[in-house]
Symmetry: C2
Subunit: 281 residues, 2 copies
């Protein structure tokens, strides 16, 4: 039986990791001014324990902690060494977190150093490159879909939101904690150079665009060994600069007079086509 | 110049159509106890004017009404006959609607009688049949994706949420007002009979399932003239009863140890494959 501490005082500083969660995305007291990694619910907390991120605390209601530890894979027990486990009531947690956390179980971890771009590309066959994607929900869905459909890694270009933001972790169902990601260097020039390096590493660079003049996704992906799929923000899409640096512009056929698909949905279709294109090789 | 009435009193009964919008999904004063159709923002309000639903009121801030009517296609002017147009301030609208409506433009319409199942099937080649889909966001995304990818109609089986709920209209970007839909008869037995009728009408019935033993979507859809794609709720999926009534169970290939895709995303991939399967005929 793991040792737990019952905390009843919402002001207890040991609960600071989960304090004001709606306003904790920037934490000047932490390295880089960014918040901790926060996992909510048993599935995502389990994925946090399996991840490379060093877990700090697990906080939950009595019954939620009971069932979580009862169901936990014994091989993950060693991950719990040094982790503080706090039992709280629903009211106490609501006061600390700033809203009613009906799931009643969460965990925090320190951020870990990112792998390098070279490390995530090593052995990868399919990667996604995001440009200017600032929407947390879209990034979360992207990770969920990418993990589910055999994408090897996600690379972040200019102007993207923080992939370890709490909402991304939740929407991704914890896959952002598992699927490798790395940031391409941040300035425009270095980012362009990174794309060139992807090309040199043998990746066929494909821009996803609603442009009706682009090639059908099927043709753009047919017979390629390694593919890097570039995806831009919903609305503006990829910059012309980014698209020029790619080998081909690919579109999903759309009915006339309709709107382009949601970003994560478009990408999911491209992941499907990528998998399908390798099916009959 | 269209005649507008400026209303400053939030208690004015002429604004009742847009009162308490967060709690207006059931309106016992209206036929069937259901709320009005509510469109938000210029794009969706335009689609409401283009639709079969009889528009009652347009409500907006002065500048939003100005720009909306300035940009409105002249052919839609006749749709405005008999429509009440109310100009309100942001504060007044917030008090009436119950929250800050920053978009500043909305319209309401009466519900219109649904087309019959036979009417929506007439000439249709690709239809979706939903079972037990209670999530408004999923239904909204389904309409947006279906409209964008050439699906002809959506049919509602047992246990689905109201497609004309305000959130569905918004998430669908107004496509629920354009894409034909109809409800299959509601009891289990009649619903099964409806599926049999779809078969008799020449539709190849395809169940979408995460079951790894199902056929690859590519094989399930190859060479079919008319397809009805059955989609169940996220989590439970289609009932075994529904799946038994179909010709084939189809899956999207997933990486081991991952979660199934979001419902609307899975369906979008199936719409893509359906379109792709007809590309080389």
């Amino acid at each position: 039986m793991l040792s737990r501490t019952i905390i009843t005082d919402p002001g207890d500083p040991r609960l600071d990791d989960v304090r004001d969660l709606n306003h904790s995305d920037t934490r000047p007291d932490l390295p880089g001014g960014k918040g901790l990694v926060v996992a909510e619910g048993p599935l995502v907390v389990t994925r946090l324990l399996e991840s490379r991120f060093p877990v700090r605390t697990i906080v939950g209601f009595k019954n939620k902690l009971d069932s979580f530890f009862e169901a936990l894979d014994p091989t993950l027990q060693t991950q719990l060494e040094g982790v503080a486990i706090y039992e709280v009531t629903r009211d106490t947690l609501a006061e600390v977190a700033g809203f009613d956390m009906h799931r009643g179980l969460l965990a925090t971890a320190d951020r870990a150093e990112e792998p390098t771009v070279a490390e995530v590309l090593d052995g990868a066959k399919t990667v996604v490159v995001l440009e200017g994607v600032g929407d947390h929900e879209n990034i979360g869905s992207m990770f969920r879909n990418a993990a589910g459909m055999g994408v090897d890694a996600i690379l972040f270009g200019n102007g993207c939101a923080d992939p370890l933001y709490r909402r991304v972790v939740r929407v991704s169902m914890g896959h952002v904690l598992r699927l490798p990601f790395a940031h391409l260097e941040g300035t425009y020039t270095t980012w362009q150079r990174s794309l060139a390096e992807l090309s040199e590493a043998g990746f066929h660079l494909v821009s996803l665009t609603p442009d009706p003049a682009a090639e059908h996704l099927e043709d753009a992906l047919a017979g390629k060994d390694k593919v890097a799929l570039l995806v831009g923000a919903e609305g503006p899409g990829l910059t012309e600069h980014a698209m020029r640096a790619t080998d081909v512009r690919a579109r999903i056929p759309m009915a006339p007079g309709t709107d382009s698909l949601n970003l994560a949905t478009s990408a999911a279709i491209a992941f499907y086509e990528r998998d399908r294109s390798q099916r009959h090789l």
